[in-house]
Amino acid sequence: MKNPIEHLNKIFDSRIRLGIMSALMVNDEVNFNELKELIQVTDGNLASHLKTLEESNYLKVKKGFVGRKTNTTYSVTKAGEKAFKIHLQALEEMIKNMS
C-alpha cells in the first residue's frame, strides 16, 4: 500500500499558491495586477507567495515597463509545470481511494 500523500506537494497547500499556479498553467504569462484581480488578495500577500514559488523555481519573473509603470509578468517554468501535474495526479489518486 503506497502512500499517495507523499506525492502531494507541500508548496501547493496554500490556496493562493494553488491559484497562482492554476492561472499560469493556462496562460503564457500573467502580470501582477491580473493575478491580484483573479485571486483577490492584497499586494503584500500575493508578493510573498510569488516569492515562495519563484524560490522553488516554479515560476519565471520578467520585470518590464509599460510607460513609466513597472509591469512584472510571471510565467510557469518546466519544473513548475511538472510539479503541478504531479500534485494534480496525487489529488486524483487520493479522491479515487476514498470511494
Binding site: 501547493f12 490556496r15 494553488l18 491559484g19 492554476s22 492561472a23 498553467m25 493556462v26 496562460n27 500573467v30 491580473e34 484581480e37 483573479l38 485571486i39 494534480l88 489529488l91 487520493m94 479522491i95 476514498m98
Partner: protein, 213 residues
C-alpha cells in the same frame, strides 16, 4: 473526512481559476439581443431598398441603363446599410458588455478580452476581405452566405475564449450560411434569421442562464 473535502475544494479552486483566467465571461446577454435587433432593423431597410430599386430603375421614363449600374447603385446602398448596422450592433454590444464587466470587476481590456477579440478578428477580417472581393466581381448572391459562414467560424473560434455556449450560436450561423448557398437570392431572409433572430435567442438564453438576479 475533512481531508477529502479539502482536496475536493482544492480541485474546484484549480478548475475555477483556470476558467476565470482564460475566458472572458463578461459577455452580456443584452449584447446579443441588441445586436440582433440592429440586424433586424438593418434587414428591414435593406429589404425596402431592394424592393424600391425595382421601381426606381425606370428612372423617369428613360429606358433604364445597363442593369450593371443599377446593381452597383443598389449594392452601394446595401453596403452602407450593412456597414451602419454592423457598427451600431458592435457599439451596442460593446456597451452592454462593458457595463457588465464593470460590475464584475473584470477589466474590459485584460488578457482574456484581448485574446477573445484577436481570435474573433481572424475569420472576420479574412471574411471581410473575401466579401469585398465578391462584391467587386459581382457575385452578390454569395455575399449573405459568406457573411454568415465567416461569422459562424469566428464564433466557433471564439468559444474557447469566452462563454462556451457561443459555439452553438456559431454552428447555427454556419448551418444557415451553408443552406443559403443553395438558396441564392433569399440572402436577406437568412441574414435576418442569422444575425437577427439567432442573436436575440442566444442573448435571451444567456440572460436567463447567467444574469438572472
Amino acid at each position: 473526512m475533512t481531508d477529502a473535502k479539502q482536496h475536493l475544494e482544492a480541485i474546484q479552486d484549480i478548475r475555477q481559476m483556470m476558467e476565470r483566467s482564460s475566458r472572458f465571461i463578461s459577455l452580456s446577454g443584452w449584447s446579443g439581443i441588441a445586436a440582433g435587433l440592429c440586424a433586424l432593423v438593418g434587414a428591414h431597410f435593406a429589404n425596402r431598398t431592394i424592393h424600391s430599386s425595382y421601381i426606381s430603375s425606370y428612372d423617369g421614363g428613360r429606358i433604364h441603363g445597363t442593369s450593371g449600374s443599377i446593381a452597383r447603385l443598389l449594392t452601394d446602398q446595401l453596403f452602407h446599410i450593412a456597414l451602419v448596422t454592423f457598427v451600431a450592433a458592435f457599439v451596442l454590444a460593446f456597451l452592454f458588455t462593458y457595463v457588465r464587466s464593470r460590475r464584475q470587476n473584470i477589466p474590459i481590456w485584460g488578457t482574456s478580452s484581448r485574446r477573445l477579440l484577436f481570435n474573433v478578428s481572424i475569420p472576420m477580417v479574412v471574411g471581410g476581405l473575401f466579401i469585398l472581393k465578391l462584391l467587386e466581381v459581382g457575385a452578390y448572391g454569395l455575399v449573405a452566405p459568406g457573411c454568415l459562414i465567416f461569422y459562424g467560424l469566428a464564433l466557433v473560434n471564439a468559444s474557447k475564449y469566452t462563454l462556451g455556449e457561443i459555439r452553438y450560436l456559431g454552428f447555427g450561423q454556419l448551418i444557415l450560411g451553408v443552406m443559403n448557398c443553395w438558396a441564392i437570392g433569399y440572402g436577406i431572409y437568412f441574414w435576418a434569421i442569422g444575425f437577427g433572430i439567432l442573436h436575440i435567442l442566444y442573448g435571451t438564453l444567456m440572460l436567463w442562464k447567467y444574469e438572472r438576479k
